[in-house]
């Protein structure tokens, strides 16, 4: 009926319940993920109107943002967080929603456990009151963050009112060099197009460098789509996707699996389909990336220098750079390598999966964390924690002098007591370097797990490639 369509349009079209002139589309939501921070007011809204959750079986909740990452016997950070967790538990019980709470063996960061349990599947529409819902787009799902009013809408109707986004093709061709990974691709992209560069668009990542990534790495890329302002990020599902999903708890089984894979194979942008905009990136030219400023677009190669004020447009760009560098305590034009580091955080929905932990442990094995540096390693889920321990990674981290924590968002959002002190510098594998994001006055440099581990050993920012190949 129509011409060639993009992956986004295929998933979108499949989920439009109704579209009337003068109103946004009514879009069906296949999977609604819920956590403690952005849901209590939505459940209150349902109660106030006497509504139920329309499809509890399509709604899954966990606790992650304000949860402790020290052993569970220890208290939650404060009474308010305790009350928030209790409220989620009560709401889920009252409305019949499955909850993976702190006592569950499957608890973890919402964007880690969705895929892990096989809830995240190609072609699904997935929403959550959390901007990093874009993570799930790595499977060819249309996944995006929503506010609490919309959480209430989805709870009540399993639908959202949505204007159709524009499309942005991000083509990444070429081979990544050793020591350069998914986090470096996405930081380089955001540095190129800016934090508002993809506003109003759904990104589709494609090209040989994207196809060569494993699922965990694809999740890292899609996770930070929102940091470029994108509504969502998507990658067409392929054999890598199917292999990763097969056998997971909520993935289809038997004949249903075969049928699903056949359907999922059609989820690709047709040849000749038009994107509203396109950007290209050469993977072979990328170096490990790190941020120097107070938004994720302020990134440079780890071998690079902090920009000088003269290098950016006079006016608001220059003012923003001056303000950012003042907050960060960094000199314009200075090499970023050599910058001292107080804390290293390895975790978050961006980089807390097995591949991330293996990369960090590989660099830390047989080495020690530099004196005076605090290192937190926070697995993304309890399942990842168990797997890492089965592989002995916890011993590697502890022997190096790092803290091995329980699963949760932890210092990415600093709601649970894990936080920086004013003025401290952290190399962090998380997704946001906004002022105060990891604790008031804290200074965050975003980087890959490898670059973070290298900083832990050196006590300063260093090119991780100089430490690769094990201990000499």
């Amino acid at each position: 009926m129509t011409g060639p369509t993009t992956l986004f349009e295929k998933v979108w079209n499949e989920h439009v319940v109704r579209e009337d002139a003068g109103a946004p589309a009514v879009l069906y939501v296949d999977l609604h993920l819920v956590h403690e921070v952005t849901s209590p007011q939505a459940f209150d809204g349902l109660r106030a109107r006497g509504l139920r959750v329309r499809r509890p079986e399509r709604t899954v909740a966990t606790m992650d943002h304000s949860t402790p990452t020290l052993p569970r016997s220890l208290a939650v950070v404060d009474a308010q967080a305790e009350a928030q967790l209790a409220k989620l538990k009560a709401n889920c019980a009252e409305f019949g929603v499955s909850l993976y709470d702190l006592d569950s063996a499957d608890q973890g960061i919402v964007h880690v456990i969705g895929p892990e349990l096989g809830l995240t599947q190609p072609g699904r529409t997935i929403v959550c009151g959390d901007s990093h819902t874009s993570t799930h787009g790595a499977f060819g799902a249309l996944a995006f963050g929503i506010g609490t009013s919309e959480v209430e809408h989805v709870l009540a109707t399993q639908c959202l009112l949505q204007g159709k986004a524009k499309t942005l093709e991000v083509r990444v061709d070429g081979r990544l060099s050793p020591g350069v990974g998914a986090k470096d691709i996405i930081l380089a992209l955001i540095a190129k197009i800016g934090t508002g560069g993809a506003t109003g668009h759904v990104i589709e990542y494609c090209g040989t460098a994207i196809e060569a990534l494993g699922m965990e790495e694809r999740m890292t890329v899609c996770n930070m789509s929102i940091e470029a302002g994108a509504r969502a990020g998507m990658i067409a599902p392929d054999e890598v996707t199917f292999e990763w999903l097969e056998g997971r708890r909520f993935a289809p089984k038997g004949d249903a699996w075969t049928a699903a894979v056949e359907r999922w194979r059609t989820l690709r942008t047709d040849p000749g389909a038009k994107f509203d905009a396109s950007v290209k990136l050469d993977a072979s030219a990328l170096a490990p990336m790190i941020t120097y400023g107070t938004n994720p677009g302020m990134g440079i190669p780890v071998t690079g220098r902090v920009p000088t004020l003269e290098s950016v447009d006079a006016g608001s760009d220059r003012a923003a750079l001056a303000k950012a560098l003042d907050y960060m305590g960094l000199a314009p034009g200075a090499a970023i390598a050599g910058q001292k580091v107080d804390v290293v955080f390895i975790g978050s929905c961006t980089n807390s999966r097995m591949g991330d932990l293996r990369a960090a442990a590989g660099l830390l094995r047989g080495r020690k964390v530099a004196s005076g540096v605090r290192v937190l390693v926070v697995p993304g889920s309890k399942a990842i924690k168990r797997q890492a321990e089965a592989e002995g990674l916890d011993s590697v981290f502890k022997a190096a002098g790092a803290e091995w924590r329980e699963a949760g968002c932890s210092m990415c959002i600093a709601m649970n007591g894990d936080q920086l002190s004013p003025g401290q510098y952290a190399v962090s594998t998380s997704n946001r370097n906004f002022e105060g994001r990891q604790g008031r006055g804290g200074r965050t440099l975003l980087a890959s797990p490898l670059t973070a581990a290298a900083a832990a050993v050196a006590g300063k920012v260093v090119d991780p490639r100089t430490l690769m190949g094990g201990v000499s």
């Binding site: 109704r18 109103a23 952005t38 106030a48 639908c159 760009d317």
Partner: protein, 200 residues
Amino acid sequence: MKREAREAFTTLTSTFVVLPADNVDTDQIIPARFLKVTDKVGLGANVFADWRLGPDGTPNPDFPLNRPDAAGARILVAGANFGCGSSREHAPWALVGWGLRAIIAPSFADIFKQNAMKNGLLPVAVDAAAHARLLEARRADPRASVTVDLPAQTVTLGGKPLAGFAIDPFAKECLVHGVDELGYLLDRAADIDRYEAKHA
């Protein structure tokens, strides 16, 4: 059906506060440590907490919202990409809690814009020239007043037309009539039933 009434937005005339920085993120609007609440009230006290208040809670006299001439302003003039970052609806709750009803900026982050409109906080995107004139007018006279006319989709400065602005017609309808979107969705129950039956 079950519709929730809220304060309608038609025209608003007010003095304005200027926060010129681009890319003001939701962590600045309301830092994460204030997200442990389970209701929407009281967040206004913590809006821009880390910029507005010192570590000991003393107001920073230089912060635009703290200056005496900010009192009573119901409009914020901000920089580009305002509200980038997280999906926290606590950001508009905090801005509304402080007393704001409209934000005029060159551009807005998507989720923030959606969240704002659902809380009667009108995002008004204007071009660079109109934005510059607002900043200029405020410098010349801190009591300069601006009118945002939502039905006409115009901004007037000192009685003279300044700019038009675009808004999704459906969101406009909800704002002008003070109704929320959930009522509309609930009214689509039959369509949703049909969709579910077809896709079961």
